[in-house]
Each structure stands twice: as structure tokens, then as C-alpha cells.
């Protein structure tokens, strides 16, 4: 009855990530790196450092999951073809004559395509992480969630840490503590796939992969087109936060104390509108960094 649907999702879940989707992922990651202030100058002055940072941006999630599972963190270097691919993408992004790649990338449809394809790799990574963790620990769903999350969204942690070591980043910045949109959505996906893997969720995996990927791609593209910084989860989070953590009472106490703080909580009340707008733009920038 629904066999065409099944066939479609099955075929989709068997798609190989290797050449095209991986290229899109590397392209988006390296372009995010290049958008950071000073990255181009670093690339001219110290190419090796820039290359290493680019590799961290591309393979960060895998590194984090290796660290957590006590596997060699440099394992990603063993995959020669992927390293060569990522290196060549890094090279053409930073050193292409006339900056052709950057200019091509600034064309919106190209960006949309690349970002959508990158989101597809995220699903694959989460599923891979959950499976991998399950091969170590049979019954521990916390580990599975953590590894899936690390694979999918751990790159930002690794790159933040790298910047911290370089001294170019201050942890007082709120972005470290505030979970970005990709981190949240990856956490959600990781939980879903873990439940699927432990059979709590009676959906077949390829269906779930298809649906989740569609969800990711659609939200990402809508966010990029409308340039809103994600407030998809905001109502849900708000109610959950009020129920679990009693944000309501804290809001009132905070507003008594100072208004800036309340705006950071995302209340967006009319009294603190300019600050809320500013924080919104910060969030936008962060989301644009994509992971």
C-alpha cells in the first residue's frame, strides 16, 4: 500500500554521503570559518594553522566523540580521501584566484543548496554516533544520546576550545552557554534516534531518518530565507522552562534587579526591546555560523 513511500525512504537512507554531501558539509564549514574576522589574514600568514582550524571545523564532531569514547582523536586523519577533499575545499575557498568560490557561494540558491545538503549529513552523523555508542554500551541510552549529539553538533565545542587555547575567545561570551539552534536540534534528533534504537519508538529507522532530515532541511532553509533566527523552539521551551525551572518567578525577580538581564532571557518585553533586538542579531550571526 505504502510501498512507494517505503522504497523512497529506504533508498534515501541508503544514500552514500561520500562525494557530494560531504563536499557540501566541508564547503559550509570552511565558509563559516572564512567569515570569521581575521581568518583570511591567518590563512595568508600561517597556512598550516588555518588548515588545521579548517579540519577541526570539518571533523570536530568526530573528534569529540573519539575523545569521549577513548578512541584516537586523530582517527579522522586516517580517512585519506575525506582529508584530501576537505583540504582541497579549504584551498580553493581561501586561495582561489579572484575569490571566485566565495563570490559563487554568496549567491543565495547556492548557499541554500549547500546548507540543505549539510543538514542531511547531520542526520547521518547522529545515526552513526548512536549506533557506534550502542556497540560499546548496550543499555545506556545516556551515552548514546551524548555520542549522537557530539557527532552531530560537537564541532562547535571543539572549535570554541581551539579558539580558547589560541586566546582569541573569551568564555564570558554568552554563546558558549546558550545552546545554538543546531545544538538543540541535534540534541532532539539524538534523543529520537536513541529511542528508536532502543525500540521505544515504533518507527522504522529509514522512515525516521527521512522525516527528521526533511524537518532539518526545511527549517534550515526557511530560517535562511526569512532570516529569522529560529524561534521554532521558543514557545515550547518557554512553557517547558516555566513548568520545570520556574522561569516565571525568576523573570519577575530579574526585572526587579535589572532590565538587561531579563532581555537576555529572551522575554523580549517591550521595555527592553533594543537590547532584545541586539541579542537577536547576535543569535542570527551565531546561527549563520552553522554549527
Amino acid at each position: 500500500m505504502d510501498s512507494p513511500w517505503d522504497e523512497l525512504t529506504l533508498a534515501f537512507s541508503r544514500t552514500s554521503m561520500f562525494p557530494f554531501f560531504d563536499i557540501a558539509h566541508y564547503l559550509v564549514s570552511v565558509m563559516a570559518l572564512k567569515r570569521q574576522p581575521g581568518a583570511a589574514a591567518v590563512a595568508r600568514k600561517n597556512p598550516f594553522s588555518s588548515w588545521f582550524t579548517a579540519m577541526l571545523h570539518c571533523f570536530g564532531g568526530g573528534i569529540l566523540s573519539c575523545v569521549l569514547l577513548a578512541e584516537p582523536p586523530l582517527r579522522f586523519l586516517a580517512n585519506n580521501t575525506n582529508i584530501l577533499l576537505a583540504s582541497s575545499i579549504w584551498y580553493i575557498t581561501f586561495f582561489c584566484p579572484c575569490d571566485l568560490v566565495s563570490q559563487g557561494y554568496s549567491f543565495l540558491p547556492v548557499q541554500l543548496l549547500a546548507a540543505g545538503m549539510k543538514e542531511v549529513t547531520r542526520t547521518w552523523k547522529i545515526v552513526g554516533g548512536v549506533k557506534h555508542a550502542n556497540s560499546y554500551y548496550k543499555n545506556s541510552w545516556i551515552v548514546m544520546i551524548a555520542i549522537g549529539w557530539a557527532r552531530g553538533a560537537g564541532g562547535s565545542i571543539i572549535t570554541n576550545f581551539e579558539q580558547l587555547v589560541k586566546g582569541g575567545w573569551k568564555p564570558e561570551a554568552d554563546e558558549w552557554l546558550k545552546m545554538s539552534y543546531p545544538a538543540k536540534v541535534t540534541l532532539l534528533g539524538s534523543i529520537i534516534f536513541t529511542f528508536q534504537h532502543t525500540k521505544y519508538l515504533a518507527v522504522s529507522r529509514h522512515n525516521l531518518m527521512f522525516l527528521y532530515t526533511m524537518f532539518l532541511v526545511v527549517t534550515k532553509i526557511t530560517m535562511m530565507i526569512t532570516e529569522t533566527a529560529t524561534v521554532l523552539f521558543a514557545p515550547l521551551e518557554d512553557t517547558l522552562g516555566r513548568m520545570l525551572f520556574g522561569w516565571q518567578q525568576q523573570f519577575s525577580s530579574c526585572e526587579k534587579k535589572s532590565e538587561t538581564k531579563s532581555s537576555f532571557n529572551g522575554t523580549g518585553s517591550s521595555t527592553s526591546k533594543p537590547i532584545a533586538v541586539a541579542s537577536d542579531t547576535v543569535k542570527k550571526k551565531h546561527t549563520k555560523k552553522t554549527e
Binding site: V67, L68, L69, A70, Y136, Y137, N139, S140, W141, I142, V143, A146, I147, L164, K170, P171, E172, D174, W176, L177, K178, M179, G241, L244, F245, G246, W247, Q250, C254, F264, N265
Partner: protein
Amino acid sequence: MELLSALSLGELALSFSRVPLFPVFDLSYFIVSILYLKYEPGAVELSRRHPMASWLCAMLHCFGSYILADLLLGEPLIDYFSNNSSVLLASAVWYLIFFCPLDLFYKCVCFLPVKLIFVAMKEVVRVRKIAVGIHHAHHHYHHGWFVMIATGWVKGSGVALMSNFEQLLRGVWKPETNEILHMSFPTKASLYGAILFTLQQTRWLPVSKASLIFIFTMFMVSCKVFLTATHSHSSPFDVLEGYICPVLFGTSWGGDHHHDNHGGSHGGGGPGSPHSALPAKSKEELSEGSRKKKTKKAD
């Protein structure tokens, strides 16, 4: 008669060393650890604004020792998180301490007699962890004394040794404050305990492990309960160190101590300190306060 008493003491120690830790003792360990997290400046605000970061911090406070020991021995960092029940228990404690209506749970736990019981039970867990850590390291490296000492120390002192990283999670990055620079009493005690247990493991100390666990637990419990009850931040080792350090490390120790006591004009190098005694004194008080805070963390 004497034989009988010795036998019963040995049996007592043996049965004491076999008491299962899981629900009750672990629970008190989590409660005290997360209580110390709540004492940290800014922790409550953090839990309101970023519950996830606060939860991770709480997990580090509860399982930091395991994570650090796993890191040192090359085992999966996330290993301990496979104990679903422990993690859930710790999460529940975290939730109750930070978000209980009217702060009821926190107030109950902070009531001094109750807190003393929990602190005592926490020390039981600490000693047991040191013993287990040394056994574990012995399993990996049969003659690696230093490995055993390091593992036992890390297991005993827990999150204190990774306090910089834990602060980073809370958005505070102060590399200049460091547990190794200002060792608190539990950290020192864990180090000495790790040395004792290592000596026992390598058969240099002719005591059975059970009785060593018993004796050291009694020592730790009495010290820690006394310190907590009197709100004192000194450590019982201070007297001993005062004698030994000048002998071992020469006069520089005494000199440092001198500076510390009589105004930090040399150490601090602040602009105001040479002019009058008052700023120097205030600075001294300040440093005293920070040290106190450090000790209060007293994991």
C-alpha cells in the same frame, strides 16, 4: 579476650568495607557535591538562565573523579554515564536542590545536623573511591606506584582538580586560580590517603585493606565533620606542614609565609600598598577571603 576484640574489630572493618555504596551513600555524595556547586557565586543564576550548562556542571561535580581517572587511564570518558541509575539519581538531586519549590529541599539539606550526616557519608564514599582507584590502577600497572598514587588522588579529590574546566562550563575562565596552587583539605587528604593505600597495595604497609579503609574513613569523617561543624577552614595538616616544610624546602617556605602574613606588598605589587598599612591589610583580608572561598568549595 584481646584476641576476641581484635577479631571483632577486624570483622567490623571487613563488613564495613563491604557495605554497598549505591543508593544511600552515593545519594549523600551527590547531595553534598551539588550543594557545593550551589555555593559557588553565580551558580543559581546560571541554573535559571542555562539549565543545560548547570546540569553538566552538576554532573561534573558528581562524576568528575571518574571522568578524570578515565582520562588518565585511557578509558572512555563517558564510561560512568552508562550507569543510568546513578546519573538519574544525580539529576534528580540537581533538580531538587536548584528548583525545588520554596527552596525546601535545599533548606532541609543545609540544616546543620543533616548536613553533617551527609558530609560524613560523603567521606565514606571518597575513601572507598580512593581504594577502588588504586586497585584499578594496580590492575593496569603492577609496579607503577606513581600511577596508583595519581589515580587514587584523582579519584579522591574529584572535581576540585578539574575546577578550571568546570568553571569554563559556567562561563568563568580563571587560569590563575588552580586547585594545585591552593590545595584544600580534601585534596591534600586524598593525596595522603592515596599514598597510604598505594603502600598497602604494594605490601609495604602491613595492614589489611579493610582495616586501612576503616581507619582512614574514621579519620576523614571526624576531620571533615569537625571542620564543617565549626565552619573552620584550616586543615589538620597545617601544623605538620609548618614543621616539615621548612626542613624539606628550606627557608623559602618560611619567607613566603612571612610575606603572606604581613601584607602582600611584595607579592601583590599593587600601587597602593606601599603607602600605608591600611590597603595592605585590606588586600590581605581579600586574599584571605578568596582562600576561604576556595576552601569552602572543599570538595
